[in-house]
């Protein structure tokens, strides 16, 4: 890959390529394209957590003036598929039907209506007569696995479920060495179990899709998605239409965070459009976004650590039980990730065991959510490490220093545990975690504040820390491609499948191309995420875009650079190998030509050809970014309220292609994580209904809730990464829960095992102490 040197475009805070349009409010989002005659599509959601649809009478709805189509299980394809936006063959069960004869959670699809207006659509939903046979519902993981529990997926044609008869979607069990023996050999053993809650991504733009027929009668899906190519494939499969008749376009997306790594809605408006010929818009309300989109996987994770008196970890056991809701999308992979992105951090323990199950319940459906299982796993792991430190009489930082993975090292977990299947062996080729810890500890004032319990009225202060890693893409499975073609003014079109969901990937990929081609950023024109126009990319997930899509872009740019050099060499009368590109020129040993000149020659003058290349990249490793988090909290002993005063995140993401965007990713994921740690909780009734499906009742952090946040981008270089980059999209969200838990312990001596750390919970724990 590129050797480390001073960059011209990389590492600069260039203006985002889509920035001007965004601040000017230009029409850039799905809903900003208004097509005449667009039908409003509304979904009828199940009122029951578990029921069979005995009969469904849509005649009254169909008779309403302004109703154009009504869809139910009776008139739609019955193809079982997964909605999970993953590479084929998807490691998620094919347990979903467009409309089923059974409903499995409150808000599950029963029917859909397409009408002239939303108001008519809503009235039509009320006119659909459904007779349900209510079935006993399963509302917890333990109930789900108990003997005699109702079977949620009893359909004959589902595939990929580990054991449907016991509601088990997935079962994972990998080990290294012998943990039982390991614990016996250990001087100290610590065990903890933590539970995390139902939370939702709450992107400010809810899920929505506009389907229409283009002038050649091909179906176009303009959708707010993280996975345009998976959408195309899965919709084609679900509806039984060929891939070549579908085009998926992702315009600007108003936030994803994983909930849009899902083929959640597209099949419905697609089918409406195919049947009526008219454009169809399906736009979830905020309430539907809570009940019927995707959520975080609630999990119960137990960690047991065995260590020697000198602090070296000897055995690690992690058991995860994951509530995957009514459908199995991402159930296996999130569970596997809980172990695969946590255990390698402490690679030197010779004995390790990760096992667990993902379980169906009749509840809202979890899916991909930033962190993807690692977030849930770091809670018990990093709090157990603190407990271990206390038992050993060691500073928690020293215990981490002693055990964390280092440059040049590997972990047997890399090979044993990937995304649902076996993983890929790898060696860590960049790791500045030690520096992250040093800088973070200094910035928070660790030595001055730890163990001091400084008081301020009824508030007691404490500091806590945690460390973590994540990954950069899925090795041997993800694939990204990039096409670059040259224009006669020395500019280039960069066509990438890579999916910018606000992350700034259009910009940073353009920066990479600009760097290789020796041009300013403005000379790279980006088109992304259009399945007709751009080559394949798995999409925005697994922190893959910078590393995987970036490497594809660099490859394509180098290829194009070579073509330019060949033409320039002819013009300059030198060897191809002697030509370098910089400052929009092709420079030889004794002269230079402008890129404009080169392109005109190739386009019009001699041996004409289009200077262009398409290159693909499959990663063979997933170089982890690293993060050290430090927080100072104050706990109000009279109310249990937690105030986070200062949060420091020192991160090694390799080279930061765009430092401000990298900081922004960490800042945003920290604040999201703080909400997850302190306030956010979907509250479920005894009948499986979400009781707080609104931003009025489900509170996410606002501008008055944020602490002082310091993000330190630690200088680092990943040799396998494009320009030395790794990734940074997810890792930040894993920090707040364990860091705050550890800080709360420092302040008031209580260990919390259940999120969110609401004031009420904290006060109860303090009183019980």
């Amino acid at each position: 890959m590129t050797e480390r040197r001073a960059f011209d475009v990389i590492g600069k805070n260039e203006m985002k390529v889509d920035g001007v349009g965004l601040v000017a409010g230009r029409p850039k989002f799905v809903d900003d394209l208004k097509l005449p005659g667009t039908l409003a599509v509304k979904i009828l959601g199940s009122p029951h957590a578990h029921a069979r649809i005995v009969s469904i009478d849509t005649s009254r709805a169909e008779a309403l003036p302004g109703v154009v189509a009504v869809l139910t299980h009776k008139n739609t394809p019955g193809t079982r598929h997964t909605t999970a936006g993953q590479g084929y063959p998807e490691p998620s069960p094919y347990d979903a039907r467009m409309f089923d004869t059974k409903v499995r959670f409150v808000g599950d699809r029963v029917a859909a209506v397409a009408a002239e207006t939303e108001a008519i659509g809503e009235e039509a939903l009320k006119q659909i007569r459904v007779e349900y046979e209510e079935l006993p519902a399963v509302l917890s993981m333990d109930e789900a696995r108990a003997d005699g529990a109702p079977i949620i997926h009893d359909e004959k044609d589902a595939t990929g479920i580990y054991d449907a008869s016991r509601n088990i979607v997935a079962d994972v069990d990998i080990d290294v060495g012998d943990v039982s023996k390991g614990f016996e050999e250990s001087d100290v053993v610590v065990e903890t179990e933590c539970e995390t809650q139902y939370a939702q991504h709450t992107p400010i733009e809810t899920h929505l899709v506009l389907a229409y027929l283009d002038s050649d009668e091909r179906i176009v899906l303009r959708t707010s998605t993280q996975v345009p190519f998976h959408v195309r494939r899965i919709v084609a499969y679900t509806l039984g239409i060929p891939v070549h008749r579908i085009r998926v376009i992702k315009p600007r997306v108003g936030g994803g965070f994983g909930t849009k790594q899902e083929v959640l809605l597209e099949d419905i408006p697609a089918l409406v459009t195919l049947r009526t010929g008219r454009p169809a818009l399906l736009h979830l309300t905020r309430a539907e976004e809570f009940t019927s989109a995707r959520t975080r996987h609630p999990m119960r994770v137990r960690v047991k650590l065995g260590a020697m008196n000198d602090g070296s970890l000897h055995a690690i056991e992690m058991e995860g039980t994951s509530n995957t809701g009514a459908y199995g999308a991402h159930g296996l992979t999130v569970l596997a990730n809980t172990g695969s992105k946590t255990l390698p951090l402490y690679n030197k323990a010779p004995n390790a065991h990760f096992f667990g199950q993902a379980v169906y319940t009749n509840l809202a459906v979890p899916g991909a959510y930033r962190g993807y299982g690692a977030t849930q796993g770091y809670f018990p792991l990093e709090t157990a490490m603190d407990e271990l430190a206390e038992r050993l009489g060691m500073d928690p930082i020293e215990l981490r220093r002693k055990n964390h993975i280092r440059l040049g090292e590997t972990s047997p977990i890399f090979e044993k545990l990937g995304e649902g299947r076996e993983g890929v062996s790898q060696i860590v080729k960049s790791c500045e975690l030690a520096k992250c810890i040093d800088l973070g500890a200094e910035r928070i004032g660790w030595a001055e504040k730890r163990g001091k319990r400084i008081r301020n009225g009824s508030w007691v202060h404490g500091v806590g820390m945690s460390i973590m890693m994540q990954g950069s893409g899925i090795p041997e499975i993800d694939m990204a491609a990039a096409t670059i073609k040259m224009n006669e003014d020395g500019s280039f079109n960069l066509l990438v499948g890579a999916t910018d969901i606000g992350t700034g990937s259009d910009t940073i990929l353009a920066q990479m191309a600009a760097e290789v081609l020796g041009v300013p950023l403005v000379k790279i024109v980006v088109t992304s995420s259009d399945t007709d126009m751009t080559p394949f990319d798995v999409g925005a997930y697994a922190s893959s875009t910078t590393y995987v899509s970036g490497n594809a872009v660099v490859k394509a740019a180098k290829n194009v650079r070579g073509q330019i050099a060949a033409v320039a060499a002819e013009l300059l009368g030198c060897e191809v190998g002697q030509v370098e590109l910089r400052n929009e020129q092709a420079v030889g040993p004794s002269g230079s030509v402008t890129l404009e000149r080169v392109c005109r020659r190739a386009m019009y003058e001699a041996g004409q050809f289009q200077i262009a290349a398409t290159e693909s990249f499959v990663p063979h490793e997933s170089p982890p970014p690293f993060l050290a988090n430090f927080a100072e909290v104050a706990v109000d002993e009279t109310t249990g309220q937690i105030k986070v005063l200062h949060y420091v995140a020192a991160v090694d993401c390799g080279v930061a292609i765009h430092p401000k965007q990298a900081e922004g990713q960490v800042e945003g994921s920290i604040v999201n994580g703080l909400g997850y740690a302190l306030h956010e909780e979907m509250i479920i009734s005894s009948r499986g209904r979400v009781r707080n499906p609104s931003l009025f009742d489900y509170k996410i952090p606002g501008a008055l809730d944020i602490p002082k946040i310091d993000v330190i981008l630690v200088d680092s270089y990943e040799p396998t990464g494009p320009m030395g980059a790794k990734s940074v999209g997810e890792i930040g969200i894993n920090g707040p829960i364990p860091t705050l838990a550890n800080a709360i312990y420092d302040a008031v001596g209580i260990r919390l095992h259940e999120t969110p750390f609401t004031a009420e919970r904290v006060l109860s724990a303090m009183k019980a102490h």
């Binding site: 009279t638 109310t639 309220q641 009742d697 952090p701 606002g702 008055l704 809730d705 009420e760």
Partner: protein, 283 residues
């Protein structure tokens, strides 16, 4: 989303006209000022909205040492009014700053917030603590204590609120407010407003109001009785707060349990009492 069942908007220019519009339609009509509660909570049986903006009900004036705030004054305008800031040591501003968000405060009116009488209201407990009055119109103008207005919702929800009246005496109270929310932009899951006249070191005409219970704000009269005529220094304020928390009517809801709300009454009331006694911080 549009209120599709609304078919017409009446725009009267006098109180009498507005009243007649409502009388003609009964339950099928609804008054609006800022309109927030209309957009959020109007049932489909309402077909006509009656716009009160044409009536001259906006603005803050000082009348006889007291304060009169027109019902259609937005919460922002009240918050930024020098007259409101000067009244009762800026107590109302302290409270208004906590209400919803600046975006909602720029639109929502004081009259609207009283008329909707949400259990989580911050404004109502604050006004009850000041023993506020309202001037209302139900055929003719009259004034009524806010407390009575809220108690007699059936009769009074037909009335048009013209103004909030705070007599001069109210401005001489020591008043303080404490509320507990999860995030900053959240409704109170419990709030406490307290005020008293301090007369030669003795508390007089004490008001203790607890809101967000999740029931509508209510005076805690047994606590008031205990504090009435007392010297703060002679009281075990912690015991008073604790006893109050045991007596208050609180419930469970999605935000908090009744038990936790009780704890908050104890803590927040104690903070209020310390401020009234001159000893605590007002935040």
């Amino acid at each position: 989303m549009a209120l599709t069942h609304v078919r017409s908007v009446a725009r009267p220019s006098t109180l009498g006209e507005a009243w007649n519009e409502k009388a003609a339609r009964g339950e099928a009509a609804r008054f609006f000022g800022g309109g927030i509660d209309v957009v959020l909570f109007t049932p489909p049986t309402v077909h006509t909205l009656i716009d009160l903006a044409g009536l001259d009900l906006r603005g803050v004036s000082q009348a006889g040492g007291g304060l009169e705030i027109g019902a259609l004054t937005t919460m922002s305008d009240a918050l930024h009014s020098p007259a409101v800031e000067a009244f009762a040591n800026g107590f109302l501003c302290q409270v208004l700053r906590r209400v919803a968000s600046p975006l909602q405060r720029n639109l929502g009116t004081l009259g609207g917030t009283i008329a909707s009488a949400h259990p989580w209201s911050d404004v109502i407990p604050a006004l009850l603590a000041l023993d506020a009055e309202l001037r209302i119109f139900s055929g003719e103008s009259r004034s009524i204590r806010l407390e009575e207005f809220l108690a007699d919702r059936a009769a009074c929800c037909e009335a048009i609120i013209e103004a909030i009246l705070l007599p001069m005496g109210a401005g001489e109270r020591i008043a303080t407010y404490q509320s507990f929310t999860r995030t900053a932009f959240d409704i109170s899951l419990l709030n406490v407003a307290c005020s008293a006249h301090v007369d030669q070191g003795v508390w007089r005409d004490v008001r203790v109001v607890v809101g967000g219970r999740p029931g509508l704000a209510a005076r805690q009269t047994s606590v008031e009785v205990r504090l009435e005529g007392a010297k703060p220094a002679d009281l075990d304020l912690a015991a008073v707060a604790r006893d109050a928390s045991e007596q208050v009517d609180v419930r469970d809801d999605i935000r908090a349990s009744a038990a936790y709300r009780r704890t908050l009454v104890d803590t927040l009331l104690l903070r209020c009492l310390k401020v009234l006694g001159g000893g605590g911080n007002s935040e």
